[in-house]
């Protein structure tokens, strides 16, 4: 099998040209990973993987096709590249298609520290030990923790090589480490799961496994005895995980493909107020060691740091070249690219800028309301902004957390929800590539009994 390197990419570009491509991109992705799972103290699973894929985007004038293959042998690749060129020729010419403006390609890349070369893949015995200690801490923390979905430790390495026919070539590599645990609490009221995790690009920056286990146990225990409440309208305090999901929805609505299709509630809102004045949303691809950091985007354009929303105002959309041309704007360095699909759009390290309130102050400010810790279902309509999802959390009474709540929904509209963010916490922690502090939304409908 051929080596995945820039030479292979250049060779593939040459073959594409020979078969009649007018422009082309080659993406080479490879990775290895090992994941180790334990359950109730015993080894449950070990999974080891190794993957390599080659992705192409071929242009024949304004017509294009994308393809990907795992058969990386020169002979079969020749045929595969030719068949992709043929497919492109059969595709309708699209006036907006094409590689990005060549002048926009960067010539140097930032050092982002994405790789833990000291550790790379963590071998099975150590990975199992880490998972075991997280689960053990959960099981020992309370007699009501009686069962477990298990704990899992994963480590992975990946490498991305990208080149196009107008002279751009770049590559980067990274590592990731993840430890997650899901203990189950049980009493006469039933069973509840709690989940917690720690994740980082650097092995030594992971949280202490025992702490992760205890936190997961706490999260399961606090759900025991959950009840349904009456239908009502009250303030909702989103915990940092739930708030991160919410800000992620706004990014989805602000991305080029949903906008030019008219499938977003943010169509035509550029430069307008889309959130309350305390809201600033930042996308920063250049955070050193950041979980979503990358030196260049899925089309070989420079990544950057920018405010998507600043003091409540929508400052920019998130655009790849295609959606930028359609919307008569410039690409924003947010093209994402998976090996088998044409470029899309994604955030990198995306967060809601923290405010000044402690989470306790935020909860303390609510007379009656819900501290939201769980959401299930897909009840967000991006076209209208209508939001209606299954919810769980803890009831707030006179500023204090009281009993757990479940089997209710919260509903509203993204436009109103972002405009009524009354308080923002100071508790921003980089747990994943989209994060938020605690936030309080003035009022939403809870549907229950």
């Amino acid at each position: 099998m051929a080596e995945l390197d820039l030479n292979l990419a250049e060779w593939a570009l040459g073959v594409a040209k020979k078969h009649g491509a007018t422009a082309a991109e080659v993406l080479l992705v490879s990775g290895e990973s090992l994941s180790a799972g334990v359950r109730l103290g015993e080894v449950e699973k070990l999974k080891s993987s190794r993957e390599r894929r080659l992705g192409l985007r071929i242009f024949s004038g304004q017509s294009s096709a994308t393809s990907s293959t795992a058969e990386i042998e020169p002979d079969s690749l020749q045929d595969f590249i030719k068949s992709t060129v043929d497919l492109a020729k059969l595709t309708a010419p699209d006036p907006w298609s094409g590689l990005p403006d060549a002048a926009l390609h960067p010539h140097s890349f930032p050092e982002l520290d994405l790789e833990d070369n000291q550790h790379r893949i963590i071998a099975a015995p150590r990975a199992l030990e880490l998972a075991r200690s997280a689960e053990k801490a959960a099981l020992q923390s309370d007699p009501r923790i009686k069962n477990s979905e298990g704990a899992e430790f994963d480590s992975g390495t990946y490498r991305v090589i990208f080149a196009n026919s107008q002279g751009f070539a770049g590559e980067y590599a990274g590592t990731s480490y993840h430890l997650g645990i899901a203990p189950i609490a049980q009493d006469e009221s039933g069973m509840q799961t709690g989940y917690w995790y720690t994740s980082n690009r650097m092995f030594e920056k992971l949280d202490d496994p025992a702490m992760v286990g205890r936190k997961a146990a706490e999260r399961a225990l606090r759900k025991l005895g959950a009840r349904k409440i009456k239908t009502t309208r009250v303030p909702i305090v989103f915990d940092p995980q739930m708030a991160a999901g919410l800000v992620h929805s706004l990014a989805g609505a602000a991305s080029g493909p949903t906008l030019y299709r008219g499938a977003s509630y943010l169509v035509g809102k550029l430069g307008q107020k889309v959130a309350s004045a305390n809201v600033t949303l930042v996308d920063d691809a250049r955070m050193v060691g950041g979980p979503g950091s990358k030196p260049f985007d899925g089309e070989g354009l420079a990544t950057n740091r920018k405010n998507l929303v600043e003091n409540g105002e929508l400052k920019t959309y998130l655009l790849d070249s295609y959606s930028a041309r359609k919307l008569k704007l410039s690409p924003t360095g947010n093209a994402s690219r998976s090996v088998g699909s044409p470029p899309g759009v994604s955030t990198t390290n995306f967060y809601l800028a923290p405010g000044s309130h402690t989470p306790e102050e935020i909860i303390g400010s609510v007379k009656q309301g819900l501290y939201l810790t769980e959401l299930i279902g897909f009840g967000i309509n991006m076209v209208t902004g209508d939001y209606s999802r299954g919810a769980g959390g803890i009831w707030i009474e006179n500023g204090e957390l009281t009993y757990p709540v479940q089997e209710v929904t919260i509903a509203g509209n993204l436009k109103d929800m972002f405009s009524s963010i009354e308080m923002i916490g100071n508790d921003l922690v980089w747990r994943s590539s989209t994060v938020s502090p605690t936030i309080k939304i003035a009022e939403m409908t809870i549907a229950g009994a």
């Binding site: 699973k45 497919l87 059969l90 069973m191 959950a226 299930i376 999802r389 089997e407 809870i446 549907a447």
Partner: protein, 482 residues
Amino acid sequence: MATELTKPEKFFQKRFGMNEPAFEQILGAALERKADYADLYFEYRNAESLALEESMVNHTSKSVSQGVGVRVCAEDRTGYAYSDEVTVDRMRIAAEAARAIADTRTREIAPVQVGTAVRRHNLYELDSTPLEIPVEERAKLLYEIDKIARAYDPRIKNVMASFIAEQKLVMIVTSEGKIAADTQPLCRLNVSVIAEEGTERQMGSFGGGGRVEWRYFLEGEKWRDYAKEAARQAIVNLAAVDAPAGESIVVLAPGWPGILLHEAIGHGLEGDFNRKGTSAFAGKIGQRVASEFCTVVDDGTIASRRGSLNVDDEGTPTSRTVLIEKGILRGYMQDRMNAKLMKMEATGNGRRESFAHAPMPRMTNTFMLAGEHDPKDIIKSVPKGLYAVSFGGGQVDITNGKFVFSASEAYLIENGEVTKPVKGATLIGNGPDVLTRVTMVGNDLELDSGIGTCGKDGQSVPVGVGMPTIRIDGITVGGTSS
């Protein structure tokens, strides 16, 4: 049709040199430590997609995936390793990685002997697959769909249509000596539209498919119905009012709303969660979990369906499993390992997304059998409630049983009549309880049109659902209107 498609075993032998001595050697290496069982899963998949938007078929793509997964089981432990290089050397490395879950063996075991072919169903042998239809012809249909959807109403402003087809060849070789191979075609035609009126915008979508030939879409002009359905739904929703909030009587239309069964009870009846005691249904076999009107089955043996398989991804022929019979919980869906540990039979529900994943118990086509009520009488019986016709996605928390699913087309029922359309309705309920509230079941069982994909533990597999019209007395509707 090429022999390699009717005899996938031959394909793997020809392409990768995989033969019985190679299998025996690798499986022998996999069982070198104290393991009970090992298997190899070979996969070769070809897929193509075409997409239309703004009246252009401007996105086409194709992909080739190949790989092999080596699994080693010892009691309730699983070792899994895979590689996208299908060579004996790579497989040996994978086998060494996978067997690390097992303890060191003290006694020699008999060498593995491979050679028994598994009898499989014959649910989707095609004369030709949609991949063999010229790209131009596939594109032409998308252009027709664009025209029909736009012609439906001038308020239809954008149409997105796509056609995705794949052909997957799989071969499973087990340490018990069995070989099962299958050629699995699958395709799906989807239409989404955006309707606009003043500042209001709404989306509508519809689609269908299965393990079928291209002509499936042409027969009875199904493609035309898909286009019209998507357009109709978007136009209906333009006039939708906010959904009510609170507990309500809900009538579910037949077909795709069967996603209720998938979320509310299906996942909770998968063997793995029940073996581990983490499902809200654990230990409830023989108990009442639904009203007497409810009989629910999972059936992987229906010809041409999206959720059907000749053999599951562990080489077990699929079957029809009664999950709930007249309200009583009868059985779980099992893969090989969980069935063995629970001393039950494997039901042909061991599935995986690809060679990069170990199998686990999954649904195939899950549906409720028809009852006796006329669907018209069911709606007439409701003084005030919600009539839900179509749904987007759903989700369930297996452990506490809470599930949700979101309506994409729903109406109010007032005095036995279907009235205004409502938007943003999410239904939330408790799995072990919701079917006990089913008071009427229609005589109009329908299976969905072939669009379902189920996600579990990061793995997506195609599934089917189905249901007759049913009335549920008391489920929480999450809306904003009081």
